[in-house]
Amino acid sequence: MSQSLLLLSYLIGSITFILGLRMLSKPESARRGNLIAAAGMTVSILATIFLYINPDSHEHLHNHLWIFGGLVIGTILGTYAARKVKMTAMPEMVSLFNGMGGACAMLISVVEFHGDSAAHMIKMLVIVLGAMIGTVSFVGSMIAWGKLNGRIKDRTIPGAQVINFILFAGIAALAVLVIGGYVSVPAYYFYALLLLAAIYGGLFVMPIGGADMPVVISLLNSFTGVAAAFGGFLYNNPVMLTGGILVGSAGTILTMLMCKAMNRSLKNVLIGSFGGQKAAAAGAPKEKISYKEIPLNDAAVLMAYAQKVMIVPGYGLAVAQAQHTCHQLELLLAEKGVEVYYGIHPVAGRMPGHMNVLLAEANVPYEKLLEMEDANDIMSSINVVLILGANDVVNPAAKDNPASPIYGMPILEVERAEHVIVNKRSMNRGYADIENDLFSRPKTSMLFGDAKSVLQDLIAELKLL
C-alpha cells in the first residue's frame, strides 16, 4: 500500500516537472509553472521521507530528526539568499544554487561508494559517473559564480587544451580502474578521480569570458541534471530520473538557444570566446577612432524636443544599477510629450532577458519594452537613440564587416535613427573586444560617464528646460 502511494507521489512529481517546464516556456503561464513544479517537488520529498522502504533492510527511513534538520537549515538559508539577492546578481545566484545541487550529487556518490565498495560493475559505474559529473558541475559553478561577481578574473591558461586532454585521459583511466575493481584500495583512486574532476571543472570554466557565463551556467545546469539522473539509477527512483534527464536535455537545448541568440557556436564559447580572432585583430594596425562628444545640455535638449526616443540599455546600465534613474528619465520625457521606447536586444546585459528583468524591477511598463525585431521596425521613425552601456549589440560591423568575429549576429540597427547618443564609461571596447565604428559615425555623439550619474545629470538638465 505505502509503496503504491510512494510511486503515485513520484508520478505526480514527474508530471509536475513536465508541466512546469512547459509552462515556464510561455510568459503568461511561467509563474504558475514554477509553483506547480515546486509543489510536485514537495510531494516527492515528503513521500520519500515517510513512505520509502529500503530494499535491502525492508525498513522505512530513519534519522528523521537529521533529515528535517537539514531541510529546515537549507530552506531558511535558501529562502534568505534568494530573497536578499539583488536583481543584478541573479545570474550568480543561479550558478551558486546549481553548484549546491552538483555538490549534493557528489556527496551521495561518496557515501554510496563507501557503503558498498565491492559493488557490482554497473552500480559502480553509476556511482563513479554521478560523482564525476557532480564534481565538475560543483567546481565549475563555483568558478562561474566567482567570475560573475568579479572575484575571479578571466584567465587563459597556456596549453589548456593539452592539460584538459591529459586530465581527461587520467579521469578515464582512474574510472576504469575503480569501476572494473582492478585495484586493491579503490578509495584512493576514487578520491584521485574526484580531485582530477574538480581540476577539470575549474579549467573548463576558467578561460570563458564573463559575458558568456550564462551559456556556461546553462550547460553546467544540464550537467547537474544528468548527475541527479545517475542518482535515479542508483536508487531505482523514477522521479529523480525524469527530473534529472528532463533538465539534462532541456538544459542542453536551452544552451543551444542561448548560443543561437548570440550567434555563437557552443564550441566557440567553450574554447574561450574570441580567442582566435583576438590574435588576428591584434595583428592589424590599430587606428584611433575619431568621435565627437556631446555636452549634457545639448543631449537633454535633443531628447526633450524629439518626438520619439528609444533607449537601448546594456551591460553598463546593469553595472551602474541605473534602471530606476532610467525610468525617471523616461517619465520626465513622457511628461514633455516625447514617446519613449526601450529597444531590448535579446542578449544585452549579462544574461538573456536580463534587461527585461531589470527594467521590470524599476516598474517600466511591459509594453514599452520592444524586442529587437519590433524595435528595428520602427527605428527609422526614431529621432534620438540613447544607448546606455550597450556596445556589441549595436555594432554595425555585425552587419557589414564579414571579417568581424560578431559578423552575422542580429543587432539593433540604431544607425537608421536620426541621432544616436552613446553613453559609455570610456572608449574601451565592449565584451567582444572589437572596435565599434558606430562611435565614429557622423550621426553618433558620445556622452561619457557612469550610466547612473549621466542619467541623473540629464534629468537635472531636463527639469531646467
Binding site: 515556464l24 533529515i67 535558501g78 557490482h120 530520473l241 527530473g243 538544459g251 532577458g353
Partner: protein, 107 residues
C-alpha cells in the same frame, strides 16, 4: 560482459532506460520554442528541478546506521545543499517571474 547484457534482461533496468530515452525527447520538445525573455527564468526553474537530487540525499541520510558517522555527516551536508538548490532555485525563479506578471496586470 554478463553485467552488460543483464542491462537488457533485467526488467527494472530496462524500464529505467526507457524512461531516460523518453525523457530526453520530452525535454527537447518542451523547450524548443522559448522567447529569449524567458531564457533566464527557465534556466533558473530547470535549476530548481534538478534539485530533485535531494531525494537521493534523503535516502542516504535515512538509511544510514546510527553509528555510521561518515554517512550521517555527508548525508546531512547533502540534504542541506540539496534543499538550498531546491528552495533557493524556486524562490529565485518566482522572484524573476513575479516582475513580469505584475507588469502585465498594471498594463
Amino acid at each position: 560482459m554478463e553485467n552488460l547484457t543483464s542491462l537488457f534482461t533485467d526488467e527494472s533496468t530496462y524500464r529505467l532506460i526507457t524512461i531516460v530515452m523518453l525523457s530526453i525527447f520530452l525535454g527537447i520538445e518542451l523547450i524548443s520554442n522559448v522567447p529569449s525573455v524567458l531564457h533566464t527564468p527557465l534556466m533558473s526553474g530547470a535549476n530548481a528541478i534538478h534539485g530533485v537530487v535531494i531525494i537521493g540525499a534523503i535516502i542516504v541520510m535515512g538509511k544510514a546506521a546510527p553509528t555510521d558517522y561518515l554517512a550521517l555527516a555527508l548525508g546531512f551536508m547533502a540534504v542541506i545543499l540539496g534543499t538550498l538548490n531546491v528552495v533557493g532555485g524556486f524562490v529565485v525563479t518566482d522572484r524573476m517571474l513575479e516582475m513580469f506578471s505584475k507588469k502585465k496586470k498594471s498594463a
